[in-house]
Symmetry: C2
DNA sequence: GCATAGTGCTTGCAAATGCAACGAATATGC
DNA sequence: GCATATTCGTTGCATTTGCAAGCACTATGC
C-alpha cells in the first residue's frame, strides 16, 4: 500500500511537470497568457457573478495573496478583469471578469481542450481517460475546482 | 473525449498543487530539505554509480541547468553530494551522492512514503491506488523517472 | 589536422513569488 | 459601545528561477 501510494504520487509529480511545460508554452504562444493567468480567468469564469475576491483566488490557485494582487495589475490593463470594491465590506476588492475576459477565457479553454486531447491521443481509450479524471477528482474532492 | 481529457488535466493540476504544498511543508520540517532537493537526491539514488550530470538532472527534474548548478552548492556544503569531474570529458561535472546523502535520501523516501500513504488513507482501495499509478505512469512512459 | 558546430556548465540580469509587516475595515467578546 | 482580534489587500524585501551570453571543451566535416 505504501509502495503503490509512493508510485502514484511520484508519477503525478512527474506528469504535472511535463504537462505544465507543454501547456505553458502553447498557451503563451497562442493567447499571450501564462498558464496561471489562464487558470485564474477560468476560475472567475465559473464563479457566481463572474467574480472572486483576491484571497479566494489565492486559495483556489494555491498561490499567495500578494501574487494575486500582482497578477491582476497587467490583466486589468489588458481589460480582461476589473477591480470592483464590495459596497458592504470595504476590505474586499473583487476581481471581475469583463466581456473581453470572457471572450479570452472561451478561447483559452478551447486551446486547453485541444492540448488536453493531444496528451491522450495515442494509446488511450475514452474509458481510461474518464477513469483517470475520476481518480484525480477524488483527490480533489474537498477542493474548489474550475470544472462545472 | 476532449471533455474528459480536459477534466483529467485540470484535476491533475489541482491535485499536484495541493500535494506539493503538503509535501513541501512536511519534508522541509523533517529534514530541512525542500521537495525539489529531495527529488534531486532520489534521482541520484537510483542512477548508475549514484551520479548524474547537471544537464541530465535538469532534464529529469524539468528545471533549467542553472537552477541545478545553484541547488547543488548548498547541498555540497551540507555534504549530501560531491562534485566529480569526468576524466574523459572535461566539460562534465557529475553530481555524486555521498554516504551522508544516501542516508538522508533513505530517510526522505520514508517520509515520502508515509505522506503518500496518508494522502490515500481514507476512501481508497489498494486497487484504486495502483490503477491511478498505472495511468499516470502511462503519461510518463517516455520519461525518465525516479522509480526503479 | 583545422575550422566549425555543438555540448556542458556557470554567471549576470530580470521576472516571479512568498513572507512578514502594515493599514484599513469588520467581527467578536464582554 | 468599546477594546481586542481577525480579515483583506498591498508593499518591501529576500529568495528562487529561467534566459541569454560567455567560457571551456569535444565532436564533426573536410
Amino acid at each position: 500500500m505504501t509502495q503503490s501510494s509512493l508510485t502514484a504520487i511520484l508519477h503525478l509529480f512527474q506528469a504535472q511537470a511535463r504537462l505544465e511545460e507543454r501547456f505553458s508554452g502553447a498557451l503563451g504562444g497562442v493567447h499571450g497568457l501564462g498558464l496561471k493567468e489562464a487558470l485564474l480567468l477560468m476560475h472567475l469564469h465559473q464563479a457566481p457573478m463572474l467574480r472572486l475576491t483576491r484571497v479566494d483566488l489565492a486559495k483556489r490557485l494555491h498561490i499567495s495573496a500578494s501574487t494575486v494582487t500582482r497578477m491582476a495589475v497587467p490583466m486589468e490593463k489588458l481589460g480582461l478583469v476589473v477591480r470592483q470594491p464590495d459596497p458592504r465590506d470595504a476590505r474586499l476588492a473583487y476581481v471581475v471578469l469583463t466581456e473581453t475576459g470572457q471572450a479570452i477565457v472561451t478561447d483559452a479553454r478551447a486551446t486547453f481542450e485541444r492540448l488536453a486531447a493531444e496528451v491522450f491521443r495515442d494509446r488511450w481509450t475514452e474509458q481510461e481517460i474518464v477513469g483517470l479524471g475520476e481518480l484525480l477528482g477524488r483527490l480533489n474532492s474537498n477542493q474548489v475546482g474550475i470544472l462545472v
